[in-house]
């Protein structure tokens, strides 16, 4: 008899197959009784209880929020001994770590530990409990090297790109400065042509791009700072590469350009390093600005692009292999925001016009649950689903600013929380309902770049003297 198909298989060696039911602790089970009087110790099939526990947790996370999953689960486990037994099935915790916290790699001993860790870490984010630290570096050899333009974070590393082309990588666990990577010396058009536009980390390797379109690849640990050019920039034909990013799975690199008409998006297959797509009119209005970036005004941001993996299917399918996961790009300038599928970039999945207000390009980010955030010049923040552009929540970031003027706001978002740096203050909102939570105790002044994942927040202050600020919300501090 085949086993029950209601859930992933259990690993605790419980002797029953899924097809039949039997009592765990003494008592005889007689099958569904025809009379409506029920046996006192009626037993629920364990696979069903597992599926039920998962459903209860997922429902709670959808209707209330991710942090509601754990107490809902705990209530299920405390019902009776049979129901409690399911809490020992690591497969259940694996499934929920994936569904609720988006975790596919096991960083702890068991999936239960993994789930508890991310629950506690999210709780720390909610309450503003973090440890503040400093990442220091001392190998700056020119004035432009102090300006951090972009940052990318993975589970293990933080990579920071500077206006002089340097990429500095730090180990998040030890806070050590691991390596500095620099683009090849060559003739470049403009003082800031070699400024770093974006960085992609894929496990042990890193790719970074310069404003004039070079893409370099390096190994983070043990690479000795050696880089290999994967693509040579062609500023004359392509314009400036104003932002460079990749998706979590590491499959694609996406570059946003400004300066040449109808060449806004470049997409590379990061495995073959082949350029597979060039098109897009998004940045046509920003052509002149794109060129100017190469010469001066490195602190301006013409456009931003972010990539996220979205599940494009109407229902949540239990069998994850059958979910259709696609890499989706969100690209934004001050006047327009566009969402497109990387496999089919000509088709626009959705777009938003900023009308009179103007989007603050540096406020745009995506989170792993396929949402994006953007703030306009009136301070209105909107969090939307990438697939449908349906708004999830909205809030106002406050602060002054004359309508029509460009506000300086640096923003980022992780699973559940958005951070906005403005006027020297870093403020945190939860993005299920748009509730303002708190601001960071540490005042670091104007911020040049900020990035967050589910555990860390990193920020480079404009006045920073060879340091990067790091906040660790991890549960095991």
């Amino acid at each position: 008899m085949s086993s029950s198909s209601s859930s992933s298989s259990s690993e605790d060696g419980n002797g029953n197959g899924g097809g039949s039911t039997s009592a765990r602790r003494g008592g005889n089970f007689e099958g569904p009784s025809t009379s409506r009087q029920r046996a006192v110790n009626e037993v629920w099939p364990e696979h069903f209880v597992e599926a039920l526990a998962a459903q209860v947790a997922i429902d709670a996370s959808h209707s209330i929020g991710r942090l509601a999953a754990a107490p809902a689960l705990a209530n299920v486990f405390q019902v009776c001994t049979t129901w409690r037994a399911v809490s020992r099935w690591d497969a259940l915790w694996h499934r929920l770590s994936r569904r609720i916290w988006g975790r596919t790699q096991l960083l702890h001993d068991t999936w239960r530990d993994e789930f508890v860790y991310w629950h506690r870490t999210a709780q720390n984010f909610l309450r503003g409990r973090s440890a503040h630290g400093i990442l220091a570096f001392d190998d700056v050899d020119n004035q432009d090297g102090y300006t951090c333009r972009c940052m990318t974070i993975s589970d293990r590393h933080l990579a920071c790109g500077f206006a002089d082309g340097a990429v500095r990588v730090f180990d998040l666990a030890t806070h050590n400065h691991v390596v500095t990577l620099r683009p090849h010396e060559r003739n470049r058009l403009g003082q800031f042509a070699r400024a770093v536009s974006g960085i992609v980390i894929n496990g042990a390797t890193l790719a970074f791009a310069t404003l004039d379109g070079d893409i370099y690849v390096a190994i983070i640990n043990g690479g000795g700072g050696v880089i290999r050019m994967a693509h040579e920039g062609d500023v004359v034909n392509d314009g400036a590469l104003v932002d460079f990013t990749g998706c979590g799975s590491g499959r694609w690199w996406v570059g946003l350009y400004a300066g040449a008409p109808n060449r806004a998006y470049h997409i590379w297959d990061s495995v073959t390093e082949e350029l597979v797509y060039v098109n897009g009119s998004l940045t046509n209005p920003e052509s002149l600005m794109g060129w100017r970036l190469l010469i001066n005004e490195v602190t301006e941001f013409v456009g931003r692009v972010r990539v996220v993996t979205a599940i494009i299917s109407e229902e949540e399918v239990e069998d994850e292999d059958h979910q259709l996961a696609v890499a989706v790009a969100v690209a934004c300038t001050s006047s327009r925001l566009i969402v497109f599928d990387l496999r089919n970039p000509d088709v626009i999945l959705g777009e938003e016009e900023s009308n009179n207000r103007g989007f603050i390009v540096t406020s745009v980010d995506v989170s792993n649950d396929a949402r994006y955030i953007r703030v306009d010049n009136h301070g209105h923040a909107s969090v939307c689903r990438v697939g449908t552009l349906e708004e999830v929540c909205r809030f106002n970031i406050g602060g002054g600013g004359r309508p029509g003027s460009q506000r300086r706001v640096m923003g980022c978002m992780n699973l559940g929380y958005a951070l906005m740096c403005a006027g020297g203050v870093i403020t945190v909102w939860e993005v299920e309902h748009g509730r303002r939570l708190y601001h960071f105790r540490e005042r670091i002044g104007e911020v040049n770049a900020v990035v967050a994942n589910e555990r860390y927040v990193a920020a480079a202050a404009a006045t920073s003297d060879r340091i990067i600020h790091l906040w660790d919300f991890g549960a095991d501090q």
Partner: protein
């Protein structure tokens, strides 16, 4: 081709094979060539089996009409809790994935926002923990309620 299924109370049901093989359990029997005679289902009574077969038949009939099927499923699962329990046991035994999922969702809806005691009351489950076990579990799950 028709199959014959026998409930625990010895009632025979004749069903189309296409309908019956929505049960993975029965499907395996058919594939193994064991379905020539009457298939005994000692764990399912006739009342429940009738309901289950109605589910299976409608899933074959309405396969292409998602809206109609959803309407049917929502109505089907509006049963009293005792029947729901029998249905889920039968679906588990017969391994009918979509019925199990629907029943699971229904029970999950019933448990929304409930404490363990309230869950026990709703589902007629006895608290079979010893006081020591109860304290143990409470501690085990403290992390979920931390602020």
């Amino acid at each position: 081709m028709a199959l014959e299924l026998k409930s625990s109370d010895n009632k025979i049901f004749e069903v189309e094979e296409l309908v019956a093989v929505q049960s993975e359990t029965i499907k395996s029997l058919v594939e193994d060539g064991c379905a020539d005679n009457v298939i005994p289902l000692p764990n399912v009574d006739s009342k429940t089996l009738e309901l289950v077969l109605d589910w299976c038949k409608n899933h074959v009939d309405m396969k292409l009409d998602e809206e109609k099927l959803k309407e049917y499923e929502d109505k089907f699962i509006e049963v009293d809790q005792a029947v729901l329990y029998d249905l889920l046991l039968a679906a588990n035994y017969l391994n009918i994935k979509d019925l199990l999922n629907r029943a699971c969702q229904k029970v999950a809806d019933m448990l929304k926002g409930k404490t363990p005691e309230q869950i026990r009351e709703t589902l007629n489950i006895v608290n079979d923990f010893s006081p020591e076990e109860e304290e143990e579990i409470r501690k085990e799950n403290l992390w979920a309620f931390e602020e």
